[in-house]
Symmetry: C6
Subunit: 198 residues, 6 copies
């Protein structure tokens, strides 16, 4: 009962869905900026693949800065730190990709993430979202955490269709194929309070 | 009987609570500054997760330097060394997060830490304090070490309520949800003796 | 049924053929550029040999920039990131060499890769293409994915001749010995949409 | 019978006490300076914790250069190399901390270490000396090596009181709680012969 | 039947002899230059000792640039990449030393390597060639690959004398003790086609 | 019968004595200089302790450049590479210390090493030579290799006195306690042929 959705008042905080040996859970991706020279710090007891997701998200944003309305000079003037609480739990796998991407876009634009939203999906350098596993367990965890909307890969639609209607009540699903759709849905046009001037 | 609370005359020294296979214990987080270029040294026979806590604390302070009244130029002019005695004991886990945060804020502001105070809790990049385990054992250790006040995560309140009243006599608890509350409680407005001019 | 050929509208995306313990599969090599100083990032849960293929491809292109019509100044001004989805699957071996080479040439020239094309083959620094294993399984996977043309090493011709004609219907094979032939066949003269000005 | 106390004519050479599976022994901590940019080299087949002791000693001295009468500019102009003979023996643990600290203070001040003196104790960043194990075995080794004076942590006094008087004849003990006391006792005001001008 | 001698039209490509658990084989050492700052890249699924051979060859050439008629400024302006196909096969041992040396001399002088020639031998920093094992298996592999001349260490002459005359027909042996002899025999005075101007 | 003493016409080549599971052997320490920025390369399939010996020798020479008549500016203008043939044999232990020291002094002074000389002994940062093991086996190997003079630590004299006179015929022993004695005995005042101007 510990992990509930929290209001995302802070830039860079996004809710993801995880699937562990003991069932589904929500997790938070957090990212912050500090004055620096473009270093990328990644913490949270993460395995190699999950760290790679962070690198992919970061490089994708750098390569497509224009699309996201980000001034590329910013990348050289700040260090980025991405963290995934809770440190006692080892985490791995590619499914936090969309969540990390959203976190970094929110961070670099200082715009609010949509509230009551969670997501899960692998990202690629060509801008696609790929399907992931454990969808049923993740959906149950999302409901427990009072999530209202969920972003999934279009290829995961069939996994939702296999879940009993009852379990899905109160949830809205967004099925996407492209990373740009994730950002359109997840990142609002509202700046966070005390937005940093980058 | 070795580990007792010591007066914190030195900036950067904070008392934490640890939970090991042989019960609870107190530990000290120590940090110092030396002229340098912003390197972060971490020692004390620490595992990966505990080292990550130090990185998280450091990056959080860098990202929120204004809030803490720290001139950000300082970060580039000094190296920081964080140490956790006793070197013979391997240590790991996220629960020293609040202690490391407090140590670094005391260090960079050269302000005294409140006396007879101990703390335990995980920290996050979004400024939250998360609950940790082993609360009962940690409280017993705190009493043995003559601690008077303890900072815990609000979500650990229920763990205290399960402990017999007798064991809690003489202890004041501060339940917090945000990292800013930890600093408000733990770091005084008094400079340490011979405070460094940063 | 998940992995199908996709139109290659984006520079740097090339279809390769892989052979795993559960049979053949197609895979995508993706690469992107971001402003930088010539760093090479490689992700996708890759083993040592597959990472070496990426290095070989990159260094071969740097050493033969003229041949490919690439301005060598570009190499110092951008970072390159090569990724192989899907992160949950460990991948290794030298057979993606031709695919990585093609990806990087497409990336640095911003030219489209031929459509409905897949390839497999090891590359060398002297410009040769070497034969690889698992040809039968790879061909079956290519057909399932609606691939129309396949580039193989000349020394793999004999592996194709051992496959029943029926399985090969609808497939055109290009047998090559040199890396220059791969590029001639695979990289078109058409710039991708929104080609980057390098 | 090999390890005897040697006259410390050279700056940076200090006698420590070690406790191994085959009993107590003395060991030497040696350190030298060479023109450089502040690198710290540590050799002697040391484990992680013993290497950390060297880092702690070095950083403590840098942070408290004034106290020790050391011009902080020196740290950027020289490399420091700390070595613990004998290379065939793996060594670890925090108990050489005081010995390393003394070695470095002698090195940077080019002052002689007191003769016929040995020491053992863990050091901390806040300037405390912590107790260590194997005291009885270490004392016997010190006598065999013709040591006359020994520096121990105050908390190790009880270990000495448990040793038969006879074994202690001819030995003077200095019990300390602070690292400054170690330096006061161990480092003389006499420069070594051919002292380097730093 | 895959590995045959190939004409060495490209600088830096030299034929070596290898000895594996499944018998002798030929292998190619390939090296290329790209604009850079003197980095050395080594690939080909090589073990530690074989990588060391590459370092030894490179440093020997740098230290004796005059002898080889190489302008030492070149070393700072280019990166060198040494590769040993075939990536799927792990390789180790010192016996490719002479082959790597020859490859790099050919590369930096842009001169052709003698045709139909193979070699095997360890190299040293003092310019000696040392004997290696597996000579019989290597010779058989050389014949299968249509090699005509072979360079061996003088100390390997006795291994050849133990092989039946029949197996040696058509092969010329060069027994050497010094690395300079290897270069005299193996590297011609003819520039490769399209030689790079270094 | 392979390893014989060789004339040391080249600077930096010194004969050491090794003790392996199959008996004693001689080995060569080789070192060369190339234009650079002070990097230290160490090869020869060496373990951690033997690599440390190289670092100790290098740092000792840097710290005592005056004593050896070496212009300290040289250290920043050259890279040093130390190699121990034969790469197929793993080697470790501190006993090559004196040999490495002698190699580097010969290298930086470009002076000849005394001929028909071998040595074994650990070195320390305070300038002492320490005794090592396997003396009997090493002496037998030295004789087989036609060595005439041997440098040993004074503390190894007793090991020689336990060997039958017959085995020692034709060998002269130099027992030393200090590293300066090693250099006095081993490095002649004659420059090598074609000495580098450093
Ligand atoms: Ca959780
Ligand atoms: Ca997720
Ligand atoms: Ca304790
Ligand atoms: Ca704690
Ligand atoms: Ca797949
Ligand atoms: Ca492929
Ligand atoms: Ca000893
Ligand atoms: Ca000690
Ligand atoms: Ca082969
Ligand atoms: Ca070879
Ligand atoms: Ca040998
Ligand atoms: Ca030796």
């Amino acid at each position: 009962e510990r992990d509930k959705y929290e209001n995302n008042d802070v830039a860079g905080v996004v809710t993801g869905l995880a699937w562990t040996s003991v069932g589904g859970d929500i997790l938070f991706i957090e990212s912050i900026l500090s004055k620096g020279k473009g270093a990328l710090n990644i913490t949270g007891n993460l395995g190699k693949v999950m760290k790679e997701s962070a690198t992919i998200a970061m490089e994708y944003i750098k390569s497509n800065a224009d699309t996201f309305g980000i001034n590329p000079d910013v990348f050289d003037k700040y260090n980025v730190h991405i963290h995934v609480p809770e440190g006692a739990t080892p985490k791995d796998g590619p499914s936090a990709g969309v969540t990390m991407l959203t976190s970094l876009v929110s961070l670099f634009t200082q715009r609010k993430v949509k509230k009551s939203l969670a997501m899960t999906g692998e990202i690629t350098l060509r801008g696609k979202v790929l399907p992931v596993g454990g969808i049923k367990e993740k959906i149950l965890a999302a409901k427990r955490a009072r999530i209202k909307e969920i972003i999934l890969c279009e290829d995961n639609r069939k996994d939702i269709e296999e879940i009993k209607e009852d379990y899905l009540k109160g949830l809205t699903f967004h099925y996407v194929t492209d990373m740009s759709e994730v950002i359109d849905i997840a990142v609002t046009n509202t700046k966070v309070k005390n937005a940093k001037k980058l």
